[in-house]
Amino acid sequence: MDVTIKVRRFDPDADAPETYWQEFNFEIEDTATVLDALIKIREDMDGTLSMRCSCRSSICGSCAMRINGHACLACKTQARSVMDKENTIIVEPAGVMPVIKDLVVDFDLFWKKIEEVEPYLQPEGPEPEAEYAASNESMLHLSGVTACIMCGACVSDCTVMEVDPTFLGPAALAKAYRFTADPRDGDADGNSIDRLKQLVKPSGMWDCTRCAECVQVCPKGIAPMDRIMALRDQAIEAGIDNSNGARHAEAFVELVGHSGQIDELRLPVKTVGITNIPALMSFLPVGIRALTHGKMPPIFHKNIENVRNLRRLIKKLEEPKQE
């Protein structure tokens, strides 16, 4: 079949390096992946095209890039499935990380985040002589996370990292969860309290905005956002609730549980804590802007209709689950 690959290119060796688009029109097999098409360009048409790729079977994690605007593994994406009516496929380097050349991006930031979570097993007790006893279910659960191939697709399309490079990000937080959820890591009961204390800090687990892009683009079904939510549960269950995130979550439930909707005046106050004067002061400019633009929330917060139904619902949710 005919295909047009439109590639966003960048040559840092050029006299005046700038980004430009180049189109390649050629024949590929019906079952070809986008990577097959790119390799054909590189091998038969233009050897100057740079990209990373290796295994061709979605295990090495080299070929994450944006295809039609979303991060994908090129080797896992059938060309046929992403062509538009004119048989065109748009290929760009991964996002968030700076471009080095063509489709090659700088992963330094990515690996720095991974290293920040101390990504190795840290049992507090002595090692057993034989293997650690563990249930197959617990290992299968972890394998669902360790199957992450570190391709960076989630980081590429993370809407928080795009604006805040200090955020640990979906890959590193999923990696962290891989340890906090490991019965071998941490104390004798498998609780990794020290890790959780680190992860609740600013730029950590509570900075995810739950946009679910990472879940959408992950080629291995790791669902990083779900792992981040599980980290939050672990932190709260472990009583590590002295963080804006935990207070925000608790205030959210409390406020909605009371009136049926968020009280936008109280929520930020409860999140940072009523005694946290500097943080409260930092809300002033936002408040003034809201006021002058007619967006100030009402001072007297009203209940929604039938709020009692909602309260019952929340009460039910908070009851311990019946096994």
Partner: protein, 559 residues
Amino acid sequence: MLEHDVLVVGAGLAGMRAAIAARAAGANTAVISKVHPVRSHSNAAQGGINAALVDRGDPWEDHAYDTVKGSDYLGDQDAIELMCRAAGGAVIDMEHMGVTFSRDDDGKLGTRAFGGQGRARTFYVGDFTGQAMLHVMFEQLIKSGVRRYEEWFVTSLIEEDGQVCGVMALEIRTGQLFAIRAKTLIFCTGGLGRVFEPSTNALIVTGDGMALAYNAGARLMDMEMVQYHPTTLAGSGVLISEAARGEGAYLLDKNGDRFMEKYAPNMIELASRDVVSRAEQTEINAGNGVDGCVFLDCRHLGETLIKEKLSQIREIGIDLAGVDMVKDLIPIRPGMHYMMGGIKTDVDGLTNVPGVYAAGECACVSVHGGNRLGANSLLDTIIFGQRSGNHAADACRELEFVEFNVDEAVSREEKRIQAMLDRPQNGDRIASVRLAMGETMNKNLAVYRDQAGMDETLHDLVGLRERYATVPVDSKGRVFNTDLVFALELGFMLDCAETITVSAQDRKDSRGAQARTDFPDRDDENWMKHVTVIKGEAGPDISYLPVTITQWTPETRKY
């Protein structure tokens, strides 16, 4: 000046294991790898890692016997004994490091059956054991504090007065060349799959270390022993794990018959890989396949088992061939997969070149002999990676750095590379030279071989070498010039291709992975020996080494 006591070239499982061991032994250690460590091809090992755990009533001798028999008695039994004895401890070590091995109902490590073995002793993580182990090893590498040169490509070795004393390396990201001085080098560069087309191997698997060592005078051994895996996917040639057959999948011909019953009445689909690949090829040649393939049938295994234990290969089938193994047959054929041969080492990884070590697929101890058992390769990497790291670190205490003129070394290499970049366009392409090499190798050095075919390939290789001398490099820039890297890799691959071909021509019998139609029998009287090759003045020089036999006398193999 960049300098290290121990410089490990390659950062797959063997390389990282070696580096961690050398660092732990107190040596100033670094790893250099042309890709980030977690991109290494150890990732692709799917099925698992073999070990006889004595506390499960599985004596290591049984594992060793299966390995010796699998090797068609060409493996060195002292090395095999050593590996199998250490296997249990090595697997437990990996578990302690954090590998999420599958468990049994008692919470202990669970096993699955694998080819050519008397009992189930393969420990596994789904069907991505290599990836699981590689990422854990990388975690340990981070913890160890070993210096990492990531995306640095070794272009040549530096020798002074006949002594290897470092490497020249290209920092791919900047295109800058550096000399790195080292007291000892450990090659852990993996296999050479891309010498063949198609191959299950990743695009980075280009025999760099074997060629670098060979050109520095190292002895290569068993280079004729190229494993064709029985189940590679039609079309792309990507691997479909032996774990499928380990879990009970059948091989069917076009009539739906389990043809392996004819060839291996006891083990059937779980005979050793050479036996199964030959059977498949025989059936395909006899017209009992469809489009050059036979079929892998997993349908009776059920969706639940497939999802839990074979999820990755199911995904591969769907993505690359449009077949869902839960309900469809998978068209498969034998495909080039693994190199049993490599840089000849002793059990400590040491080669015949002072200061140079090798471990993993690029090395040949030899524990695989004529045919490697499935799930013995991961074991090989961690056992001999660790041993070579330990030994190199010890050796460094007695060694001094060899002085050499760094500027001269850099400028010499700079000139060589600039000359490659400056070659004028002549209509030829790097990829077409590589493809021609891969096709002639896959035509004449595949499952069945004969003299005429191998002569043809050797002749082809001479022509390809001529083309290689003038083939242009499209990309002239320095930053992330992958075209230049491919050109350099192609040179390494041509060296490897030649050593494979001359070794296979020399061995005049059929043993393990080498099946010659003109010498169809195993000839223990004349050929129970290793074929080795050293680079001579006029090309490869063949000589022989004896096979070490300790307790298992060679006998006819039956599965």
